[in-house]
Symmetry: C2
Subunit: 205 residues, 2 copies
DNA sequence: GGCTGAATGAATCGAAAGGCCTATTGGTCG
DNA sequence: CGACCAATAGGCCTTTCGATTCATTCAGCC
């Protein structure tokens, strides 16, 4: 097989540069590196790479949205998502968006390369992560619940959430109760902390 | 000047590998890469590098604690801290611990190299960051306040904090009020979020 | 067609949190 | 010594929150 042609999307220059060098040292052709999802979509249109190494949390357009667009336009372009968070919900979203695989950034660099080559070779690869796989935990928050979680992670009060989502305070409370139960906590502060640890929401949202 | 001999400490393998390759491409000798603060301290003892590229948030022992130990034992070893967060409080702590400079990970890789070489050459270098510098903010929480912040970051209730610290609920509330004022928030949830962003407390505490 | 789960809305009740005061005790600093 | 501040504590009052229970609508699914 000829040399793989890839694109790297990551908002951290150090990471971007490091990944590029790592890939190049394995004789992978890095066509370009970009800093956000929007640029990634544009670059794919222009360069038609074999694969994209896509960071999930990025400004302008996150990796999941970018993956969705890229995959819908170019089914032959493989997307491999990288993330710091070992969280199921995010991984699931990325896979649904069309990522071939989701790797946490705490896997060794060589593994990223080998997985990339495997995927390009057409081998079926399942999701791989490093440690603390929280299987059996199986917490599944609904979209609405995550939406509400995101709002309390911005410090919103119950009333505030209600008006932002155009639903009554009562309903918000009901959702909150469900969230608390699922996350096994008793108040919004603990819920925020738990959600942050699980990567369900991010601090800079 | 002869080739610089450095040590890299970062808990993310991808980052570790990337940094190593970046450094090596600039003809800097990377003696070893380690994954946490404890290992960094041990490696410095063994290898006496010229400098350490130290990530701040790491398991086992964070970069600040490691920096403090290293600098106290080897004043000739330069420590350069890297972090994702552009937060003053954390930067200040790192500098106080003996870091020569704190760089956010969103500066270009070449800058990391040039700063490293400048510092090794003995040139005075001031703190450099990419954007959003929050000068003039100058928030100073007391030790007690930070202690209480740490407890609410563990999800503790006001009553709980009181019994943990052997003070009355009223006193806790007073401290909380001061904290809210200093952080410019109105409730504990927002306080936790603000404290996390500022690096006053950490999620895994 | 009936079951289930998600989203919505609601009532009630007690506990917790937060706002706004005042006050005492010990330091520290000029 | 007097000024100031951190830490402690209390009172009072309002708002918010969380727990529990119930009901309705709508969608997907066997």
């Amino acid at each position: 097989m000829s040399q793989a042609r890839i694109l790297i999307a990551d908002d951290h220059p150090v990471m971007r540069d490091g990944l590029r060098r790592t890939m190049e040292s394995y004789d992978i052709d890095v066509l370009e590196t970009v800093a956000d999802g929007r640029a990634a979509v544009a670059a794919v249109e222009r360069l038609h790479p074999d694969a994209v190494l896509m960071d999930i949390s990025m400004p302008a357009m996150d990796g999941i949205a970018a993956t969705e667009i890229i995959r819908s336009r170019h089914a032959d372009v493989v997307v491999i998502c990288l993330t710091f968070h070992g969280d199921d919900a995010v991984h699931q979203k990325a896979l649904e968006a069309g990522a071939s695989i989701v790797l946490t950034k705490d896997v060794p660099a060589e593994d990223v390369v080998s997985v990339l080559l495997e995927v390009l070779a057409g081998e079926p690869v399942v999701e791989r992560r490093s440690d603390r796989s929280r299987h059996g935990g199986e917490l599944s928050l609904t979209a609405r619940e995550i939406e509400i979680l995101a709002l309390i992670t911005k410090g919103a009060s119950t009333t505030r959430i209600g008006s932002e989502l155009f639903i009554s305070v009562k309903t918000v409370k009901n959702h909150l109760a469900s969230i608390y139960e699922k996350l096994d906590v008793t108040d919004r502060t603990q819920a925020v902390l738990s959600a942050l640890r699980l990567g369900l929401v991010s601090l800079d949202s």
